[in-house]
Amino acid sequence: MSSYHPYDDTLTRHAAGRLAAGPSFVVAVHLASCRECRARVALFEAAGGALLEEACVLAPPAEMFAATLRRIEQAVERMPRRSATVSPLDALPIPRWRRLGPDLQWRRLSLPQAPQAHLYMLKVGQQGRAPSYVQRGAAYIQVLQGAFHDEYGRYGAGDCIEADDGAAHRPIADSAAPCICLAAFEGRPRLTGWLGRWLQPLLDL
C-alpha cells in the first residue's frame, strides 16, 4: 500500500509513450504494485482511444493494406505479454551489487531497449546515508524494500517519489532492513559533498 504516487502528469506521459525509458520503467514497477495508479493509467489509455476515434482521418497510401499483409505473412514475432501486475524488474538481468562505502551499494541496470538510460538500484544499510545530490532533470524513485527519509518526508516500500529539477536531497535510510530503491534520472544527477564528488566518476553519472 503506497502513500506516494507518480504525479498525474507523469502517468499521462507514461500512458502516451512520452516518458523516457528509465522513468517509464520505474513507473511500470510502481504500477505492478499500485492498483490506484493502474486505474489512472487505464483512464488515460481510454482517453487515448477517444482521441484516436475523433482524430481527423487522413487517407492511407493505396498500398497500405497490401504492405500490412506482406508484413503479417512473414513470421510475426510474438512477444510474450506481461501482465501489468508483474514487476518488469523480474524480467531484467540484475548485476551484482557494487560496494561504494560504508553501508552503501549500488548497481546500474541496463534496459535492452535503452541501454543509455540512467537507471540504478541503491542499497543503503541501516542508518547509512546515500550521497546527497542535486537534480538536473527529474528523478523517479521507487522504494522496493525498507524505508528512507529526506528533508521532505518518509517513504516506505511501494512509494514512488519524484524529485523535481533543482531539488537537493540527502536521503537517509531509517528501517531495520537495508533500504533498496530503484532510481531513474532524466538527465544526469550531480552528487554533492565530499562523498558525492568522490563517487561521481565511479558511478559514471
Partner: protein, 145 residues
C-alpha cells in the same frame, strides 16, 4: 505462441456489414474473427477503420506524414499479432489500438537518442473524468519528450 483454435460466438457474414463507417460491435466482431480464425477480410475492415485515424493522429502530433504512416503500419501489424489479447470487457477497441500505437512509439523513440525531457505544463484543476484525461493526454502527445 500458437493461435488458439477456439471458435467464438457465431458471427454474421462480414460482407453483409458493408463498407461504411463501422460500429463498435462490428469492429469487435472483426477482432474476434482475426483472433479466432486469422480472418484477413475481417482484418481488412479493421485496417480500413483504424489506418486513416492512426495516420491522422500521428501526422498531427509528430508533424511528418511519412512517419505517421510508418507508425500506423507497425501498429496494424501489432494489432494482427495481439488480436487475441483484446478483451472488450477491459477496454474499448480504440483504447487497445492506442496502447499498441503507444508501444510502437516507445520502441521507435528508444532507438533514437533520448533528449532530456521537456517540461510538460501540468494542467490545472480536477482531473477525474474522461474529458479532462483526454485534454491532458492530448497535451502530453503534443509536447513530445
Amino acid at each position: 505462441m500458437p493461435r488458439k483454435p477456439v471458435r467464438l460466438a457465431p458471427r454474421p457474414s462480414l460482407r453483409a456489414l458493408g463498407a461504411g463507417s463501422a460500429t463498435d460491435d462490428e469492429l469487435d466482431l472483426c477482432m474476434a474473427a482475426v483472433a479466432g480464425d486469422g480472418d484477413k477480410a475481417a482484418f481488412g475492415r479493421l485496417v480500413q477503420h483504424f489506418a486513416p485515424r492512426l495516420i491522422g493522429l500521428f501526422a498531427h502530433n509528430r508533424g511528418a506524414r511519412a512517419e505517421a504512416e510508418a507508425i500506423a503500419l507497425e501498429t496494424l501489424v501489432a494489432l494482427w499479432r495481439d488480436a487475441a489479447f483484446y478483451d472488450p470487457r477491459q477496454s474499448t477497441l480504440a483504447a487497445f489500438v492506442f496502447v499498441l500505437a503507444r508501444n510502437v512509439l516507445r520502441e521507435r523513440d528508444a532507438g533514437a537518442e533520448l533528449a532530456s525531457a521537456a517540461a510538460v505544463e501540468p494542467l490545472a484543476g480536477d482531473n477525474t473524468g474522461l474529458a479532462r484525461a483526454t485534454a491532458r493526454l492530448r497535451a502530453a502527445l503534443e509536447n513530445g519528450m
